[in-house]
Symmetry: C2
Subunit: 501 residues, 2 copies
């Protein structure tokens, strides 16, 4: 046995090529590895020279689990592929999987029994072949059953956005409004993967977001809501492992989006949920038809799982509010809660969604929810509730919007001409904010002074880039000048000459 | 820079997770790595603890190429994915790829620019989406262009089997027959992947099979044919890298089978080729319809490439001849060439295929090829030619069938009852032969005493297992008793009682 001090991401071993030939094993085959009484299944890699004949190289995960050190004797025996590999082939062939087959695949994903090749093939196959609602439900349930769960003794509510629009900080406003009205909302959210800030990144500017199951139960009991990071609890852990394959390929199988979202809701026992579907160019949902499909699929899957889902198709053609990036968004959300002047789009969306929650929870009558939500926001009760939440989670001592520290290096981008803003590119803004350091550098991001259809004079600042370091600011400015995320046009777009006489 | 003495299978580096967050790179992203003047593109892996912040871990391939040692300073810069990844997504979406896109993918495969995830997704996508004949032709040509090629100044012939039937040693008989008649046959073949012996494994019992391009040219010039291992020359190297993904998944995209076979033929400049399609239960081709599809696809692709293909659908319902395993098959082929009594199936198939070659080469008239081939075999000229070939390649000094060393540990399997052999399972026999040590242990394998429809008495030996080691023999016997590869039935299969009066 020879230890290799590298994480393999699962149980993996290395054999010398000659030994492998002798044993009839090929790369990616599986072997049982035995040390004293303990047996683990590992995936085989080959080496021509580093691992000598008779040696077994072991990556960190398996050598720690077996508690072996260099020179220890271990026994390796070829073993067959897990049954899941046959089920993956079934999906490749276009067949429908059974409940048990899906459970087996998800269990093997969670337990790291599948190699990268097998898992990638599965993700690609479900992207191409799709899954029907039965398979999607079974996937969701398997994801719930292979992770931790929380049971609340009372009815709980949740909000979720499928994402795709930058600056989407509706949750830190909508959740405290609903909680102030007495609803229970254990809201877990994700960190940014390819965006400039996830809700968890934003909340982390103000409070601790890594809660245990016990923390979550206790805070929801006492305060009514949390706004925490889902990754700190082991809800539907298959999701993370699947995302690791989807991300480098830039694919997102529809059935898996449904299953991943709903598994995390089911795992915390959600009863009612509002789903935000941002629609518009450069979002995940470019048109009404696709928005309706998303809505209906979530509603149907919710019904099968015992979760009442109501969908809100929202305008996603440009960022929500004016701030992009963790600290800038936290500041804007706080300003909104404090009743300070912020973009109407943020107030409208947050109270729309909070209003839907109030109606679902019978706190407001049908079509009276938004009005009620606005009153709660205006009264300051939502702000008080928000401070209660961040204090319960572990406040970082920032309680006012003006105290939120934002990037100290800034650069104003000026309008190259007079006219009207005709296009605001979501994707370009995200690229610039990420170049400036977001989401890792909390102070980095963008503050928009102008949005779509607004009038602008030549030389007037149209947005400001923030960064925590000078080098990253310069990089972001360079990219901003290249991508030009805001397009300006005069009211006269084209001049068509008269016939010449 | 910290060196990690492990083969990664390509250019791969490891960063600390914190650094990666800082740089905004995720696992499987790419980075440019710069040392002195040299720049390589590498795929990123992450480590929590082994690689410290500020360090870059480098696997063997890249650290050797850059010639760096521990502590050296290197510069890493995030870089975008190769264009191929977009083309792979196009195929996932079901679109047809262009010639240039396919070339780009194949080039990136050969140059190790694709990660395991990307390559697996490509292979899975072409398995599911398929490729039309244009795409298949472009894949073939790209595979040829990204490897070595040989040009002969004269017309050359080839034979190829799509495989699937054990004991398929027709080539060492058919090739010398055709070469004895004056045809030029640069026959490269593969080693076993999942079978008990490839033609290259079998030939290696008698001669050196690792030839250079120059060796091949010289021997074909002088002797008329080779029977060597294709892997020793770099013909269509994309194939090996694709097989490495297909094998663990047990998938075999049809278009890729076509492209891989024909690229290797095109690379050696084949003009005429006979394609063996074994058909029957437990082969790759269970029915006539699929056999015809294979045949037509190879013929069509051949025509596009300027290769005249004639297909032979052959009986594959049980092993060819009686021997399975490298040495046992080499011995049986030699016996056949020497005119000693061997199974009719071997003589018939080898002369059928040799006859087709003779007709294609205008050495025999239409429908007279087989007769002519049988005469050459009977005359001893094929045997002389075979000895010339193995001598030219580097004989191991075994020139007679009785001198071929076979496994010294043997076990006879006896018939448990009297009756007739009703089923001979190809797959079970391969499993037993592999358990006995084939293809790596050359002497290991199986000799069948009885084949389909033959009569057998209770207690009579029906086959013998050979092994080079006692332990493997025991393992193989155990598996044989479990799998029962030969089924015996009395002539009375079922007894239906009369009505009771």
């Amino acid at each position: 046995m020879r230890r290799i001090d590298i994480e393999a991401g699962g149980y993996e071993i290395i054999l010398n090529e000659e030994d492998a030939k002798e044993l009839g094993v090929y790369p990616q085959d599986r072997m049982k590895v035995r040390k004293d009484g303990m047996i683990l299944t590992a995936i085989v890699n080959l080496s021509q020279s580093v691992i000598k004949e008779g040696e077994v190289g072991m990556f960190i995960e398996i050598s720690e689990k077996l508690n072996v050190k260099n020179g220890d004797k271990v026994k390796v025996i070829p073993t067959s592929r897990p049954l899941s590999v046959d089920y993956i082939k079934k999906k490749i062939n276009g067949e429908k999987l059974t409940r048990d087959e899906i459970y087996e695949i998800i269990k093997d994903i969670v337990e790291d029994n599948l190699s990268t090749i097998e898992l990638t093939s599965y993700v690609t196959a479900i992207q191409i072949r799709g899954m029907d609602m039965d398979e999607t439900e079974w996937t969701t349930r398997a994801m719930v059953d292979t992770g931790e769960t929380i049971d609340f003794e009372y009815t709980t509510f949740d909000v979720h956005s499928i994402g795709g629009v930058p600056g989407n900080k509706y949750a830190p406003v909508a959740v405290p409004i609903a909680a102030a009205a007495g609803l229970k909302i254990p809201k877990t959210s994700s960190r940014a993967i390819s965006s400039a800030a996830g809700t968890a990144d934003l909340m982390e500017v103000l409070t601790n977001v890594s809660l245990t199951i016990e923390d979550i139960r206790k805070i929801v009991d006492e305060v009514g809501a949390i706004l925490a990071w889902g990754g700190s609890v082991n809800l539907a852990p298959a999701d993370d492992k699947i995302v690791r394959i989807e991300y480098p390929l830039g694919i997102d199988p529809h059935s898996q989006v449904l299953a991943s979202v709903m598994a995390k809701k089911k795992a915390v026992g959600t009863d009612f949920m509002v789903l935000d579907i941002p629609m518009g160019p450069e979002t995940k949902v470019p048109d009404e038809k696709l928005a309706r499909k998303y809505a209906m699929d979530f509603i149907t899957l919710g019904e099968r799982l015992g979760i009442t889902v109501e969908a809100a198709v929202t305008y996603g053609g440009q960022p929500l509010g004016r701030a992009i990036g963790p600290a800038l968004e936290a500041k804007e959300a706080l300003m909104c809660l404090e009743g300070k002047p912020v973009s109407n789009s943020l107030i409208e969306k947050a109270t729309d969604i909070a209003g839907m929650l109030l109606e679902l929870g019978n706190v407001a009558e049908r079509n009276k929810g938004k009005e009620h939500a606005k009153e709660i926001l205006k009264s300051g009760k939502a702000r008080d509730k928000f401070l209660e939440i961040i204090n319960a989670q572990g406040s970082k001592g920032i309680e006012k919007s003006e105290d939120v520290p934002v990037g100290k290096y800034t650069h104003d981008i000026l309008s190259p001409e007079s006219g009207y803003i005709s296009i605001v590119s979501n994707k370009a803004l995200v690229k610039i904010a990420r170049a400036a350091g977001a989401p890792k550098d909390k102070g980095a991001g963008i503050l928009l002074f102008k949005k779509k259809s607004e009038k602008v004079e030549k030389g007037e600042p149209i947005y400001k880039i923030y960064a925590d370091s000078k080098a990253k600011l310069e990089e972001a400015v360079k990219i901003a000048k290249m991508l030009k995320p805001l397009k300006i046009e005069g009211m006269l777009l084209e001049r068509i000459p008269a016939y010449k006489k």
